[in-house]
């Protein structure tokens, strides 16, 4: 029943899901960095930086991820000659372009998650800390950030799970990940339902444990108010 799976070796089923995992990890780390920078701008005391953060988030959130990813290939690579350090290896180039697109898109959501986390800390906490005579660094490192980090885990976990599912969009520029392999298999093989179930199972395996664990963690660490 599962014989047909071994007919596919470029990539194999596991190889395709490994590509999904790689896309998730690289874009996850990248968007965490870029998203943190954006969040820092959005809450900074400099109005111009706040403005830039807001504009970036509102523009990027409203463009479909598909448009961004397809543009990295047809626009950045084909027109502007952005080769991402891999001019001859098109598989690697596609992978890096997809990661770039995913970072640009996901960072907007990371930024919003971080900002909402900071906003859950009541102003009175910081005011009390300032009244005690703590300076800016102390207020931030002792009072605000420890509380903000705890309330940010839940929203960030959601962003991570959404990112895992969004990596399938990389299929639109031919990155050999799970969705692209599913498209090829389901078009060529007769077992439509079985193939659908196998790939669905793969994604459930990827997202379910992550979701359960991070959800448990965020509840455990939540600041009781």
């Amino acid at each position: 029943m599962f014989d047909f799976i071994s007919d596919y070796d470029d990539p194999t089923l596991l190889g395709a899901f490994w590509m999904t995992v790689k896309l998730t990890v690289f874009s996850g780390v990248g968007s965490l960095i870029w998203g943190t920078l954006l969040a820092a701008m959005r809450v900074s005391p400099v109005p111009l930086m706040r403005w830039f953060g807001t504009v970036y988030v509102n523009i990027v959130r409203n463009i479909p991820l598909t448009v961004i990813i397809v543009f990295t290939s047809l626009g950045l690579a084909d027109i502007f000659g952005v080769t991402m350090g891999a001019p001859d290896d098109f598989a690697l180039q596609g992978f890096r372009l997809a990661v770039l697109g995913l970072i640009a898109y996901t960072a907007a959501f990371v930024c919003e998650a971080l900002r909402s986390g900071i906003n859950t800390v009541p102003v009175g906490q910081a005011e009390a800390a300032r009244a005690l005579g703590l300076n800016f660094t102390q207020v931030l490192s002792l009072i605000v950030l420890p509380q903000a980090f705890r309330s940010v885990i839940g929203p960030l976990a959601n962003v991570l799970i959404a990112l895992t599912k969004n990596t399938t969009v990389a299929a639109t520029i031919g990155v050999a990940e799970a969705a692209l392999l599913m498209k090829e298999m389901i078009e060529n093989e007769a077992q439509t339902l079985l193939i659908g179930a196998v790939f669905a199972f793969g994604f459930v395996v990827l997202t379910l444990p992550t979701g359960l664990f991070l959800n448990w963690l965020s509840k455990r660490l939540a600041v009781k108010r």
Binding site: F52, V67, R130, A157, N158, I186, F199, V204
Partner: protein
């Protein structure tokens, strides 16, 4: 302005902010100049590449029909997913375990799977098991994929909407002797609909964005897909991407603004219980958080 992070600025902080602003403007200007220079070097600022968008042909032949298909798929998906989601959401709150359990499994399953997988599967299913014509198939597949995913998200919206109502509502209804179906049908659901309205409108943004997947992977002739035909005709890839992105931004911005306006109106309204499922709550529900709880308007 004071916030959690910093106090109202004194003289030293004001001076520092001015310096930071100047540095930031310089960096931003440098980046913008670099983008301009690159565009110019590659000849992307030639008027001939932008000119098609000032004439009606590009709009009437490519962009507007594409936009119409995008909106058609989004509207169909929403109209079909809403009642399905309501049924699933209410089933998930049933007193009977054999109703609650399967509903929960269905909802969590479809939220955990990428919508692209659902579209690909639906496309193949329609090709093999039904006699839907190959011209209609992309639309059917896109709508089916969107319905399966969004019905389960909306199920959670419905559940959260009903749970956000004050407990006194159902208790009072039970006290005057209403049956379970009457409590749900005449008391909870009508109030929950108003609570959910902003969340439903912002879910439309998610649906509109996901239709673009069908354009690339299934050949559905929506906005992003017609951009390809347009660019093939006028040879203006970058320009067409920018115009299409602007269309998406304006469309989704209008939807988001409408949702926020609804939310604000409902929060202020004296007749409601004050419970609202806000625009931000939708982001949380879309991720497929398992067994998650989320802040509802009542608790904020």
């Amino acid at each position: 302005m004071t916030s959690v992070l910093y106090d109202a600025p004194g003289p030293r902080a004001k001076r520092r902010n001015v310096i930071l602003s100047v540095v930031f403007v310089a960096v931003l200007a440098l980046v913008l100049w670099w983008v301009y220079k690159t565009m110019d070097d590659k000849g992307q600022l030639e008027w001939s590449l932008w000119k098609p968008f000032t004439q009606s042909e590009a709009w009437t032949t490519y962009l507007l029909p594409g936009l119409a298909d995008t909106l058609k798929a989004a509207a169909l998906a929403m109209v079909i997913a809403l009642p399905l989601g309501a049924v699933l959401g209410i089933a998930r709150m049933s007193d009977h375990r054999w109703v609650r359990g399967p509903a929960a499994v269905v909802v969590e399953f479809f939220r955990a799977i990428p919508v692209l997988l659902l579209m690909l599967f639906a496309n193949e299913f329609f090709a093999r098991s039904t006699d839907v014509s190959s011209a209609d198939r992309p639309l059917y597949a896109v709508v089916t994929g969107l319905v399966l995913y969004n019905a389960s998200v909306l199920a959670e919206v419905v559940r959260a909407g009903i749970l956000s109502l004050p407990k006194g509502q159902s208790e009072a209804a039970q006290a005057i002797g209403l049956r379970k179906s009457q409590v749900m049908g005449s008391i909870l659901l009508p109030q929950a609909v108003t609570v959910m309205l902003p969340a439903i409108v912002s879910q439309l943004v998610v649906i509109v964005k996901d239709t673009a997947l069908g354009g690339v992977m299934l050949g559905f002739t929506e906005l992003l897909n017609s951009r390809g035909t347009l660019a093939a005709n006028y040879a203006n890839v970058v320009q067409s991407f920018i115009v299409v992105a602007i269309i998406y931004i304006v469309l989704n911005f209008l939807l988001t603004s409408f949702a926020s306006w609804l939310e604000g109106r409902l929060r202020r309204s004296k007749r409601s219980t004050g419970a609202v499922l806000g625009v931000d709550d939708v982001d949380e529900l879309n991720a497929g958080e398992v067994g998650g709880t989320f802040a509802t308007g009542a608790e904020k």
